[in-house]
């Protein structure tokens, strides 16, 4: 009985203290308090909306988000734009549709059901426009990087002058959080680059935090539902376990044996 408790607690401690990938290089990432971490973690709605603004005004010129639809922007647990706002956002994009009855492709304003419009037609076009480097799709980017949100948050703020012993080719930049320190993306953010509608001061730090929050949501759109259900499920299981424990004690009291 005691052993079992010990075992379970050891497992939890070991895995909880482990980072995503144990093979990753040791770098101390910048820390900030994420509202979505923890048992009751939820997204900061305003931060998600600001993050969408940063994505669409800055990142989206190179990075696609092909698994998201405009309807997601109005869904529960996300940025929660109103339906009208989401419709307006969708309509501001030109979407290629068709073929129509004449067999011709045509463009029309976007609808809620459309996927996010991609900046490039295909991977080759994206590479051609970016000196051979493909700007990765951002839909699940946070989950596809060992350091997760802390890594993305740090990377956006990690641009600095290259040390003297590092020589950089044309179109390559120095970033202290990038694997190997060399990155093909120029520093995407600068203070005041976007103008937030809610009056928040658009510092690089603030924009990094907002856009990373947005990316966390895009990678895990059901995170809030998961946290809420998890709490209920675990409380339910604990209560049931206690009840079963006492039933077990009662049943086993009929025999001279320990449980």
């Amino acid at each position: 009985m005691k052993n079992l408790f010990k075992l379970f607690s050891i497992i939890i401690i070991i895995t909880a203290s482990n980072s995503y990938s144990f093979a990753a290089e040791k770098v101390e990432y910048l820390k900030t308090d994420w509202s979505f971490k923890g048992i009751f973690g939820k997204f900061d709605r305003a931060s998600l909306q600001r993050g969408y603004q940063v994505y669409t005004e800055v990142c989206a010129s190179c990075h696609s988000m092909k698994y998201l639809s405009y309807r997601n922007l109005a869904e529960k647990g996300g940025p929660e734009f109103s339906i009208a706002q989401a419709k307006a956002i969708a309509a501001s994009f030109e979407v290629t549709d068709g073929p129509n009855s004449d067999g011709e492709m045509f463009t029309r304003p976007g609808k809620l059901s459309d996927k996010f419009v991609m900046p490039y037609d295909n991977v080759k076009a994206a590479q051609a426009a970016n000196g051979g480097a493909y700007p990765p799709d951002m839909s699940v980017l946070v989950k596809a990087r060992g350091g997760g949100v802390d890594y993305i948050y740090s990377l956006l703020q990690g641009y600095e002058e290259a040390p003297n012993d590092v020589s950089l080719d044309d179109g390559v930049y120095y970033n202290k959080f990038m694997y190997g320190n060399k990155i093909r993306m120029a520093a995407p953010l600068s203070d005041g680059l976007v103008e937030y509608g809610d009056g928040t001061n658009a510092t690089v730090e603030q924009m990094s935090k907002d856009v990373t929050t947005f990316l966390m949501w895009s990678a895990e759109p059901h995170l809030e539902a998961r946290h809420q259900m998890g709490f209920k499920a675990i409380v339910y299981l604990i209560i049931l376990t206690v009840l079963v424990y006492f039933s077990m004690k009662k049943i086993w009291s009929r025999v001279e044996s320990e449980v």
């Binding site: 079992l4 379970f8 989950k143 060992g146 895990e220 059901h222 299981l237 079963v244 086993w252």
Partner: protein, 420 residues
């Protein structure tokens, strides 16, 4: 209590049971005499059954939405995660369920090693277990390929390439496995088919595993043969059912913690990048539960011998009942074996750790020493220990150590000294 004299009470029941004795089977399962001193390490058999059923049920649901095509697999998984109702829940249960399954199976195997459950007359149960374990690894490996992420693709490439180590026909076999000249769509579709098939093979083997168990009955922490039914046993229902249920609930709490609060912690981040044959990940690592064998594979400089070593590490377990020469089952009464047992546990954990690290420098050296020790344990230490070890006196019945101070203890000691 005995199966033979069971007769259903109702006329209909009798009529049915005479034609198909399902009720006799049910009666056997509820009355099945079980040693009353089984500790919580024995609850993992039931937990494993739960894991298998969970994987089958969630897997069936996922298969309804998943598309086994190289161009669409990754996207269909994202579709499950985003748009299928509770798809994220089903997929996270399935993905973490695999880890939970292996966690439970390792505890189950190491329980068997500690209490000597593999020894006569339970060799067939043990060998069936090893086959189940092999199939589990195959199913888990192929399941990991299905999301068609970077680790899926490159893991599949590395593991299938192992077959190329076979002299003369190796290359041909690999091409045949792939269904082409690299891991591609034909590989994915056949892995999906096999991933769907294997759980049902496992299910059949589990039935045989339990059937074979019900012939001699459970081993127990004391490791002695007991009379069944007797004062030493309790009927399976309700005693073991409620105890297994309690342990299962504890297990489910851990399971739920992973599913709801750390669903990706046991996976590799690279598997959220769509498979790309042109880009090789910096480190290709298998899932945690395969790491010890991966370490053994890489610790041998020659590819063919590495594969042989890795396979032997698993297959050696199948002949364990004959490698362990000790007549005493439980490590409780084997002071030396007990110590070697824990060294083996540490050895396997070390192998798992170095399996996750790059195969170079100190890590490689540690992997080699640990691999050598692994084989030393089974091939030298166990056979020799059976002859050399001075074991402690074994009680005559379970009731004795439970109640303590019974005259049996003295009798057991006498008997033991006579043998010596």
């Amino acid at each position: 209590m005995s199966d033979h004299d069971y007769r259903p009470k109702s006329k209909v029941g009798q009529w049915f049971n005479d034609r198909l004795p399902l009720l006799t089977l049910a009666n056997h399962l509820t009355d099945y005499p079980t040693p009353k001193n089984l500790n919580y390490w024995w609850t993992f058999g039931g937990i494993l059954t739960f894991c298998l059923i969970t994987q089958i049920v969630t897997g069936l649901t996922l298969a309804m939405h998943y598309i086994a095509h190289a161009d669409m697999a990754f996207e269909s998984v994202e579709h499950i995660m985003r748009d299928v109702n509770y798809g994220w829940l089903i997929r996270y249960i399935h993905a973490n369920g695999a880890s939970m399954f292996f966690l439970a199976v390792y505890i189950h195997i190491f329980r068997s090693l500690f209490y000597g459950s593999y020894k006569s007359p339970r060799e067939i149960i043990w060998i069936l277990g090893i086959i189940i374990y092999l199939l589990m690894m195959a199913a888990a490996f192929m399941g990991y390929v299905l999301p068609w992420g970077q680790m899926s693709f490159w893991g599949a490439t590395v593991i299938t390439n192992l077959f190329s180590a076979i002299p003369l026909v190796g290359e041909g076999i690999v091409t045949w496995l792939w269904g082409g000249y690299s891991v591609d769509n034909p590989t994915l579709t056949r892995f999906f088919t096999l991933h769907y098939l294997i759980p049902f093979l496992i299910l059949g083997l589990v039935v045989l595993h339990i059937w074979a168990l019900h012939v001699p009955g459970n081993n127990n922490p004391v490791g002695i043969d007991i009379k069944k039914p007797s004062k030493d046993t309790v009927p399976f229902h309700p005693y073991i059912v409620i105890k297994d249920g309690f342990a299962l609930l504890m297990f489910m709490i851990v399971f739920a913690f992973f599913v709801f609060y750390a669903p990706n912690i046991l996976g590799h981040a690279d598997n959220y990048i769509e498979a790309n044959p042109m880009v090789t990940p910096a480190h290709i690592v298998p899932e945690w539960y395969l790491l010890p064998f991966y370490a053994i594979l890489r610790s041998v400089p020659d590819k063919l011998l590495g594969v042989v070593a890795m396979l032997s590490a698993i297959l050696i377990l199948a002949v364990l009942p004959w490698l362990d020469t000790s007549k005493i089952r439980s490590a409780v009464f084997r002071p030396l074996y007990k110590q070697f047992y824990w060294i083996l546990v540490a050895d396997v954990l070390i192998l798992g750790y170095v399996g996750a690290m790059p195969a170079e420098g100190l890590y490689l050296l540690i992997a080699r020493v640990a691999t050598a020790y692994y084989f030393l344990h089974f091939l030298v230490i166990l056979p020799v220990l059976g002859f050399k070890e001075k074991t402690l006196p074994v009680p005559l019945s379970i009731t004795e150590p439970v109640l303590g101070g019974s005259p049996n203890l003295a009798a057991a000691r006498n008997q033991e000294s006579k043998i010596e």
